[in-house]
Each structure stands twice: as C-alpha cells, then as structure tokens.
C-alpha cells in the first residue's frame, strides 16, 4: 500500500513542533514554581549570590586545602560524599543551548542551570533503563520542561563522572555559617586511559553575607586557586574531549564580501556536506527522527545552492551533482514521511473523540511496520558504493583547488557579495510578484508554487546571511518564516487529507474483518474533516500573512539590503 506519500514532510513536522512549543510555553507557568523561574530569568539578583567554582592546584588538593582554611577561619566539616553522575544531552546540544545540564545521580534525574549549577528540577528514576525521549519520564513538571527544551530529540549519554565532595562551613564569631564551600574532586569514569583528577572548590554564598565571600575569595586566590573554573559540565567536557555546542543543523558559514564566488560556494557546500556526514551515524543507529531530518535539509540546501548560485562551478560538475543529490534525497523521502506520521500519532488521537481513538491503532501499526522496513532499506542504501562515491567525489571536488577559466563558470571569479545580492533579489521578486496575484479565489496550485519560491528565497538568504547586517537580515528571515509557516501548514493539511483518503480507499477495497473497519473508517473520516476545517482556516489567514510580509517597511528593508 503506497497510500501515505507526502511531498514535503519537513513542513508538516514544523506544524507539529510549533504546536508542542506553544503548549509547552503555557504549561511552564505553574504558580508554585514561580520563584525558580523568576530566578532563571534574572539570575544575577543583587541579593542572591551565585555559586561558582575555583580550580584547586594539585599541591593544595584534599586535606592540605582544608588545613589551610582551618588555619584562617573557624570551620565546621561535613561528611564527605561520593557520587557518580551520568550526563546527557541531545545530539544538537539543546539543553546546553538552553543553559541547562541534565544528569542522573543516585537514581534521580536532575536538571541544573549551567550558570551556578543550581537545581531547576528533578525527577526520581528508579529503573536501570535509560530514558531517551521526554515522554519516557513520568508525568511531571520536569517532563514538561524537557518537552519544551528537547522536543523530539533523543538524549545521548555524554560521560560519567565520579565526584567526592567535602562540605566545609565557614563560621563567624557567633558560630553562624557565613559561607558554604565544597571541596570537590572530579574524575571521569569508563575511560581507557588514565585521566587526571580535577580538584575544585565550590563557593556557595549565603544571602546577606557577600562581604565574607569577597574576603574568602581573596584568601584562596592568594593560596593560588584559579577563579572561574567554569561549571561541572565544562570541566568534565574538557577532560573527556567533548565540545558542548559543537553540532548545529544551522548553516553557520562566515563569508567575506570580497571572496570569489567559487570559493564562497565551496565554503557553503563543505558546511552542508559536513552536516550530512555528522548525521549518518545517527540515522543508521536510529537514535531519533531528527538525524534524518537534518541530513535531508542539508541535501536539499545543497541542491538548492547548486541551482541558485549559477555558473560558479564547472557546468558538468553542477549537472552531475544535482542529479546525484536528487538521488540521495529520494532515498530518504519515504522514511521521513513515515517519521512525520508517527510523530503525529498523539496529535491525531487528541483531535478525535475518545471512543474513536483506538480505531487509529491499525493505521499506526501499519506505519510502524513500514517504517522498520524502510529504515533497513535506507541503511543498506547508505552502505552502497553508489552513495559513498557520491559523497566522496563531492568532497574531493570541494577540497581540490578551483581551476581557472572553466567553461560555463563565468561567475567563478565574481565577488560573492554581488552574486548574493543578485540571487536574493531575483528570488525575492519572484515571491512578491507571485504573492500579490493570489486572491481568495486563486487555485491551490498557486500557493504551492509560492511556497517553493519562498523556500528558495529562505535558503539563499541563509547561505549569504553573514554578508549582511545580522539584525536586519535576521528580521527579514523571521518575517519570511511566518509566511512560510502559513504556506507550509496549508500544504501539509492538504497532503495529509489526500493520503488519509487513499488509506481509506484501500481499506474499502480489502474486504476482511468488516466490523472493525467501520470504526476505522469513521476515525479516518473524522480526521479528514478536522484537517479540512483547519486547512480552510489557514487559507483564510494567507492574505493577511502575505500582506504582513509584503508591508512597506519590509520592502524598504529588502531594497536597502539587496539593492
């Protein structure tokens, strides 16, 4: 059965994520956690001194350090605690990006702020099983926070560490604690070669005793402690050789305005190729759906750049790799379609009345089975010499020094900023001239064509983003994104109805176990009606969205930036 064929599933997926993001934003406002979120928003509250680490030199580690402190201050020692923590983040470091760290310690998952390592929330985790997604955690506020931060990405273990912590209370003449300090040893676990122990001193100031902190800081600095050792994630990452934030699916290329076109194109293509390579392992291991998604976006951007940045590469090269990457893209289409449908399972069930929900199970069982098959197929395809050769040849082309005077590459030596302006201008004009012609009576195909034009404009703006003032181009990209969201939603809803319709027709054609099918058909019918309804609403919003995009300020800004 080929019923479920989608054309542009990545847009479909965006609809889903925007829904989950919005709901998560609301759920985050629990009144009882107000103080914590207030502190998160404004961590440098004048009165809330923040904990931070200092690095203890080896010569002063352990008892020496305690002795040194005791000589100067009355202290109270707390028992030493040994703990192991396992740290997690998603492949694209979403938690790190949100200034958070997640770790499992003593059968509890903790979410801490990076800044001062203060706990935001925690959830007990008695099982030995590793959680992968936010939905693996029990229903809680913790789970909602993770949902809003990591969306559909899976957690990957980063490293495990063992800490030995000795709490020391610094007292004043009334025996009142004026500062808490923790002497903490950090050791990386499960590594072959011997790694050094890192000794740190954590200063945990008490509210209202800032003066004592300053004095103590001076005292330990005189002993040779280095200030601002970073947080525990920083320290453990440095020892383990991991670099937080080292992967992002965003195209992050830095171009110079005077760069010749063929050079700039190579920089863009190399970055996209790197993204493909980085995601291969995750696709094969089937860690989460986003490895494939990022991979596909990189492929599509490569194809778009090949056809948009015209006449900078030799003609035969352009033609050949356009075909090659089209082939690579095709390999992944069906699997992504299925991923998108499976990600929508909860949403589909939600919009149906409770009685009909179980009737969708046969559909999703079928999709899951298909997905397993399709995944095996893709993994095999990625192992074939055909695929490997494409990427290897592309790579060797990109790293080879560009040749002069190649026929058909008249833009090769032109400055990239001129090329960029021209490309963006052209795609922008296409979008506007097509968009203003669309009325409420226009056929759906017109919106489809506009969606494709918008995508081209978006990609070209992103390729050359670094050549233009960051704030302005960012603003225009965001405006364009809004328009794309509307068009994308419209298309997704249409495609979904089509494929559900096909599924329904196939269902009628097979004529076994009649009774259940009636319910299944009712459920699918309900879905189609619902999606249709939403599609109409999205279409109605188009005019306004387009006018918003095409308003005078934006036109002026486009002119100012791209001529």
């Amino acid at each position: 059965m080929d019923a479920v064929i989608l054309q542009e599933p990545q847009v479909l997926f965006r609809l889903e994520t925007s829904i989950t993001r919005y709901s998560a934003r609301w759920q985050i406002r629990f009144p009882d956690r107000k103080h914590i979120f207030q502190n998160l928003r404004n961590p440098i509250n004048l009165n809330m001194a923040i904990a931070y680490r200092m690095l203890v030199p080896e010569s002063r580690a352990g008892k020496t350090m305690i002795g040194d402190i005791a000589k100067r201050y009355p202290i109270k020692l707390e028992p030493s605690i040994r703990e192991t923590c396992r740290f997690y983040d998603t492949f694209d470091w979403l938690l790190y990006g949100a200034q958070l760290m997640l770790f499992n310690k003593a059968q509890t998952f903790h979410l801490h702020r990076l800044k001062d390592e203060a706990e935001v929330e925690s959830v007990p985790w008695p099982s030995r099983k590793q959680p992968r997604f936010w939905w693996d955690f029990p229903e809680s506020h913790f789970r909602q926070t993770l949902k809003s931060k990591m969306d559909v990405r899976a957690l990957l273990p980063l490293f495990s560490i063992e800490t030995r912590t000795r709490g020391i209370r610094i007292l004043n003449k009334d025996d009142k604690t004026v500062l808490r300090v923790d002497l903490q040893e950090i050791r990386l676990l499960n590594v072959q070669e011997h790694t050094a122990l890192v000794n740190t001193l954590i200063l945990r100031p008490l509210r209202g005793y800032r003066k004592n902190v300053r004095k103590f800081e001076q005292f330990v600095a005189d002993l040779g402690l280095a200030p601002n050792a970073g947080d525990i994630l920083d320290i453990a990452s440095a020892v383990s050789g991991k670099k937080p934030g080292d992967y992002s699916a965003k195209l992050n290329v830095q171009l110079h305005p005077e760069m010749p076109g063929n050079r700039a194109a190579r920089v863009i293509f190399s970055c996209l190729l790197q993204i493909m390579r980085q995601n291969e392992a995750g696709i094969k291991a089937d860690i989460d759906s986003e490895f494939l998604h990022d991979f596909r976006v990189a492929v599509r951007r490569t194809r778009s750049a090949l056809s948009q940045i015209k006449e900078v590469l030799p003609q035969d090269v352009t033609r050949r790799f356009k075909e090659d990457f089209q082939y690579v893209g095709k390999l992944t289409n069906r699997l992504r379609d299925l991923d998108v449908y499976l990600l929508k399972e909860a949403y589909y069930k939600e919009i149906l009345p409770g009685r009909l929900r179980p009737s969708l199970d046969p559909l999703f069982q079928f999709l899951r089975k298909e997905r397993r098959k399709e995944h095996r197929k893709l993994v095999r395809a990625l192992e074939t010499p055909v695929y490997k050769d494409i990427l290897e040849n592309w790579e060797s082309f990109l790293i080879a020094p560009p040749k002069d005077g190649v026929p058909g590459a008249k833009n090769a030596e032109k400055q990239v900023n001129r090329l960029a302006g021209r490309i963006i201008r052209k795609t922008y004009c296409n979008v506007v001239s097509r968009g203003i012609k669309i009325t409420d009576a226009s056929p759906d195909e017109e919106l489809h064509a506009l969606r494709i034009d918008c995508k081209k404009l978006r990609y070209s703006m992103e390729f050359f983003q670094s050549l233009f003032p960051q704030h302005e181009i960012g603003l225009l990209i965001r405006q364009l994104k809004e328009l794309q969201n509307n068009l994308g939603d419209f298309n997704d809803l249409f495609v979904q109805q089509e494929s559900l319709q096909l599924y329904l027709e196939n269902l009628v054609a097979e004529d076994h176990h009649r009774g259940e099918e009636l319910d299944v058909a009712a459920a699918i019918g309900g879905l189609i009606a619902n999606l249709h309804h939403r599609q109409i609403a999205v279409r109605l919003a188009f005019q306004e969205t387009f006018e918003h995009f095409n308003r005078r300020e934006n036109i002026r800004l486009f002119r100012a930036l791209f001529g």
Partner: protein, 247 residues
C-alpha cells in the same frame, strides 16, 4: 505566599519559639521561607545567630523594597531566610503613626517578596498597638499561643473582642495551647472547656518542656538538637495541622 504571624497580647507564651520552629520545619520541607523578626528584643535573630547590619533600622524597614531585600540574611538552614530585628524597632509604632495608610504599611512592605517565598513568618512583639494592627492586616493567619490558664485565656478573648470592634476578619485567628503542663489540673480543665465550646483551637499543643527552653543556649531549632524528642514531635504535629487548616 502565606503570611503567618504567631501573636499574643501577653508575653512569654512561646511565640518566638513557635515562629522559629515552624519556619524551620516549613523550610525543611523545601518551601522558601522568610522569618521576619519584628520584636526589638531580637530573640528570633538571636536563635539563628544573626546580627543585623549596622546600618539597618526601623527607617529602612519602613522604606521597604531594596532596603528590606538587602538586609535579608540566609540562616544556616536551606530555604530559610531571616530579616533581623533592630533595637530601633521599639519605636515602630510612633514611626508608623506618622505614615499614611499606617494600618496597611507592613503588608505593602511584604508584598514584593511574594515571588520569592512560600511562607513568611512574623515574630511579633507582645502588645496591642499600631504595629499589632499592621500585623492583623498583613497576616493571612494569626497563630495565637495560649497557656491554658485563666489570664492567658482572657487575653485571647480580648483579642477576639478587639477584632469584633474593629470589624476585622476573625477567621484569621487560629489558637493553640502552648506551655501545657499535663500534671496541672487547671491546664487540663481549661483545655477541656475550650475544646467543648471553641472550634478554632487546634488539636495539637506544645507541652512545657525543658528541651524548648534549651533553645536559648543551643541557638538552633529544637528539631536540630533533639530531632526525636517529644518537643520536636509536638512542633511537627502542630505544623502539619496548621498546613491542613490553611490550605
């Protein structure tokens, strides 16, 4: 945020002890808690070994805002903060009298702390002055410790009458027995009488025990130095009952 004020017209009935111990128990459960020491004697501050900053006084308290926030001190216990008292508080009444809306002043001072704390305990000086009226309007609950004797019960009735005459919300008043000596006949009889007629009295009570008097020497909440004692248990029971009454 809930503001709870242990209050009594009569002195020496265990107000400060109850404020200190309940604030400690609330914080121990993880709720960010502030104890405001409003008594110029500063006993609550003393129990937590906290001295006010040299520049902190009545004026700064009444200014509110940053002046108050700057002077809040963290105790040795997690989640428990304290606003220390100052001797200048002895003239708080006179200072309040000069202000506009003098009966609501304390509430305005405490309001900005709402986001930070789940509970604020007010340790009040024993009398029925303008400061007391401020406390009546600021507090969500007045926790009135009563020794089960005639004189102590009389002051409780006086308080009720005062609320009636000023048309204040009497449902704020929650009484409980403090410094109870089971071997004294008068204590038992008074408690029985009250149980028979007055519903707003809590069932838990605080016995008269030397553990509690030790607090002055130990300078810690009872549950820290006698965690398993009867006195620690009685504060815990009281706190649980208060929580179920106020939620």
């Amino acid at each position: 945020m809930k503001i709870i004020a242990p209050y009594s017209i009569k002195g020496g009935v265990g107000k400060t002890a109850v404020a200190v111990n309940l604030a400690y128990l609330a914080a121990r459960e993880g709720a960010p808690t502030l104890l405001c020491d409003l008594d110029p004697q500063g006993s609550a501050s003393f129990y937590f070994r906290i001295r006010p900053a040299r520049k902190f006084n009545r004026k700064k308290l009444l200014k509110g805002g940053k002046q108050v926030e700057k002077n809040i001190r963290e105790t040795d216990y997690e989640n428990l903060h304290l606003l220390p008292s100052d001797l200048s508080y002895r003239n708080l009444d006179i200072a309040l009298d000069k202000l506009k809306r003098s009966r609501r002043k304390l509430r305005t001072i405490l309001n900005p702390l709402e986001n930070e704390y789940d509970y604020i305990f007010l340790d009040c000086p024993p009398n029925i002055t303008l400061l007391a009226e401020n406390i009546f309007s600021a507090a969500d609950y007045l926790l009135v410790p009563c020794i089960p004797t005639t004189l102590s019960m009389r002051t409780y009735d006086q308080l009720i009458r005062f609320f009636k005459s000023k048309k204040l919300d009497r449902s704020k008043i929650v009484g409980f027995f403090s410094m109870v000596e089971k071997r004294k006949k008068i204590h038992l009889e008074t408690m029985e009488e009250i149980a028979a007629k007055n519903g707003r009295f809590l069932k838990s009570h605080i016995p008269y025990l030397s553990d509690i008097e030790q607090m002055g020497r130990r300078r810690e909440p009872v549950a820290c130095y006698r965690p398993r004692s009867r006195s620690a248990k009685s504060y815990e029971d009281l706190w649980q009952e208060i929580k179920s009454t106020i939620s």
